[in-house]
């Protein structure tokens, strides 16, 4: 069974200070100096799919895992990492870097769904949101373009008795929905406690992965010209920073006891109804 997992590499926003949030005339924030990380929901999708593939090792149609990202090359190290931990294929879709895809989930989903159709994948797994745009729409749009059903806020996936089905747990309005579903399907990962983080490869796995080739595709390879990648449903007008922060009053005190007493006397006494 061919499984495609889509992921995005993002800058670690936690490492940016307030003054770093500045942008140029094209509304791009310079993050070249910040380390890159897997988007947390995508990381969960990647690990969940690895676990699922292990369950499918001894069935008639074993899993064939492909990791896909749409970016300009910053994700290559991460693609190698994924090959080291067990992904069979690592694909980067690159586009004309003058195009702004940050707020364009429609185009991202076009690129992904073209690849999925071309390769005959049966399951697509991706995270529910993340990245610069925080769009939260790519999974739904991939499902629409493929004409496949989708399940959102997935927390776990395991194989079912029937070979063309999966058992999927998802979170819905105050409950957990357990479904046995027939493929093909798009799964959108939410907060998965079973697989929150991606496994770490061994040194041997890393060395083996170095020899493996990444697949680099352009939008043209997928049958989409540059005109098709323009954002036609919305236009970015401007960005705004967060409002200036409060002027935080730092409490002095040589010991934690002094600080706690000072906090209580000055600020909490009137606010706590003891």
């Amino acid at each position: 069974m061919k499984i495609a997992v889509c992921f995005k590499i993002i800058a670690d926003y936690d490492r940016l200070s307030h003054k770093d949030w500045e942008w140029d005339e094209r509304h791009f924030v310079d993050m070249s100096f910040v380390r890159r990380v897997f988007n947390c929901f995508d990381e969960s999708a990647l690990e969940t799919s690895l676990k699922l593939s292990r369950q499918l090792e001894n069935v008639s149609d074993p899993a064939e895992l492909t990791a896909i990202t749409v970016d300009d090359g910053q994700g290559d190290l991460f693609l190698k990492h994924l090959m080291a931990v067990g992904y069979d294929h690592a694909v980067r879709i690159c586009c004309n870097n003058r195009l702004d895809l940050r707020f364009n989930p429609l185009v991202i989903s076009h690129l992904i769904s073209r690849y999925i159709k071309q390769e005959g994948q049966k399951l697509v797994v991706l995270g529910m949101q993340g990245g610069e745009g925080d769009n939260g729409q790519t999974g739904f749009l991939v499902a629409e373009q493929l004409g496949w059903p989708c399940i959102r806020e997935v927390i776990d996936v395991v194989m079912a008795e029937s070979p063309d089905c999966l058992k999927v747990k998802s979170r819905i309005d105050g409950a957990i929905l357990k479904q046995t579903i027939k493929l093909p399907m798009v799964l959108i990962m939410g907060h998965s406690l079973n697989s929150p983080y991606l496994r770490v490869p061994t040194l041997k796995q890393k060395l083996n992965a170095k020899k493996k080739q990444l697949t680099i595709l352009s939008n043209i390879d997928l049958g989409l010209d540059n005109e098709a990648l323009l954002n036609k449903d919305k236009t970015l007008m401007d960005l705004h920073g967060q409002k200036p922060g409060k002027s935080c009053a730092f409490l002095e005190g040589k010991t934690a006891q002094e600080q706690a007493q000072c906090l209580y006397d000055r600020y909490l006494k009137e606010r706590l109804s003891l």
Binding site: D134, Q137, D173, A175, T180, I181, D233, Q257, A260
Partner: protein, 334 residues
């Protein structure tokens, strides 16, 4: 501009979802030519409806056969848009609202955006504002294609009132819906129960600075002692140091207590959005440059567990003093 509000009656957070839509309606400078409510229900036809802050020109009640299948809602919405075309559709902030907004706009060649904080109509163009870059920035967009399908941003808990249906003019719509072919078996089980976090006056929120489950357990005990609800940032929940129903932030709860003590949280954009509506914020962090101090009223640079254990002692002493003084008054009156 004609608008419709699309909601599911059966969701547990209906009154909160309507509050969030009311915030959007109140913020909008736009005057609609009409606003309709399209309310889906699964089991019984509603007898009470949530109070929406603008006059409704019509209320349509739509029965949905398969409550867990977004396809059933989408099928009905495509039909409704064919019969009663709208320029703008407003959806709830939950997963269902986000899914329906996105997929419906795709099917109708419209524009969709999620987590919309503000929306206005200027020079016949619909402009919206939404958070981007992990809630560190906001962006203003012009939407190009009607119908515009928006899901609103989450807001702090302020559930609206319910009013009897008999006071309102309504129309019931029933459509044949096919069973989703891909679902072979389906079962719902209860998730963790709701906590009192949404409407608590005092909340202690703990972040990754707690370092391990043992410390988180101690801090949860302190929260109980001082009468605070306990909340946690995403790393704490994902490490299984606290339950998922304690999650605060963009993908969890948005809270607005009178007093919020944020201990050991760095203050990322996605977390801060969850507590920044609090009346008063106390931040405790070992790093004096932590971003949490930018949204805090008072800060303590120090180890969270040590400071909170001392604070617990202070509060217990004060409680004892108060209890004994109450006891004296009671004794005197006897």
């Amino acid at each position: 501009m004609k608008a419709a509000i699309v909601l599911s009656f059966d969701i547990t957070s209906l009154q909160q979802q309507v509050h969030e839509i009311n915030v959007m309606l109140n913020n909008m400078g736009t005057r609609f030519s009409s606003v309709e409510l399209w309310l889906f229900y699964h089991d019984q036809q509603p007898e009470f409806l949530p109070e929406i802050s603008c006059p409704l020109s019509d209320i349509k009640l739509i029965k949905v056969e398969y409550a867990h299948s977004p396809e059933s809602y989408l099928y009905s919405l495509v039909y409704l848009m064919g019969q009663y075309p709208m320029d703008l559709l407003m959806f709830s902030s939950d997963g269902l609202g986000e899914e329906l907004a996105t997929r419906l706009a795709y099917r109708l060649n419209g524009s969709s955006v999620l987590k919309v904080e503000d929306c206005s109509l200027t020079s016949a163009r619909l402009e919206i504002i939404k958070p981007v870059y992990g809630n560190n920035l906001t962006a203003r967009f012009v939407l190009e294609s009607s119908p515009y399908c928006l899901s609103v941003a989450k807001q702090p808990c302020r559930p609206v009132n319910m009013i009897p249906c008999e006071l309102l003019k309504m129309e019931t719509i029933t459509l044949d819906q096919t069973q989703p072919w891909w679902v072979k078996e389906s079962l719902t089980i209860l998730d963790q129960p709701k906590t009192g976090l949404a409407d608590a006056d005092l909340v202690l929120v703990v972040g990754q600075g707690a370092n391990n489950k043992e410390t988180v357990d101690v801090l949860q005990g302190i929260a109980n002692t001082i009468g605070a609800e306990f909340g946690a940032s995403r790393p704490v929940v994902m490490n299984a140091w606290a339950d998922m129903n304690r999650l605060i932030g963009a993908s969890g709860l948005i809270i607005s207590p009178k007093l919020c003590i944020a201990a050991g949280v760095s203050g990322t954009g996605v977390f801060s959005v969850g507590i920044k509506s609090s009346e008063f914020i106390v931040a405790i962090n070992i790093d004096s440059k932590a971003r949490i101090f930018q949204i805090a009223d008072v800060g303590i640079v120090g180890d969270l567990a040590t400071v909170l254990l001392e604070l617990e002692k202070v509060i217990l002493v004060e409680k004892d003093k108060k209890d004994s003084s109450h006891g004296c008054i009671e004794d005197t009156t006897q």
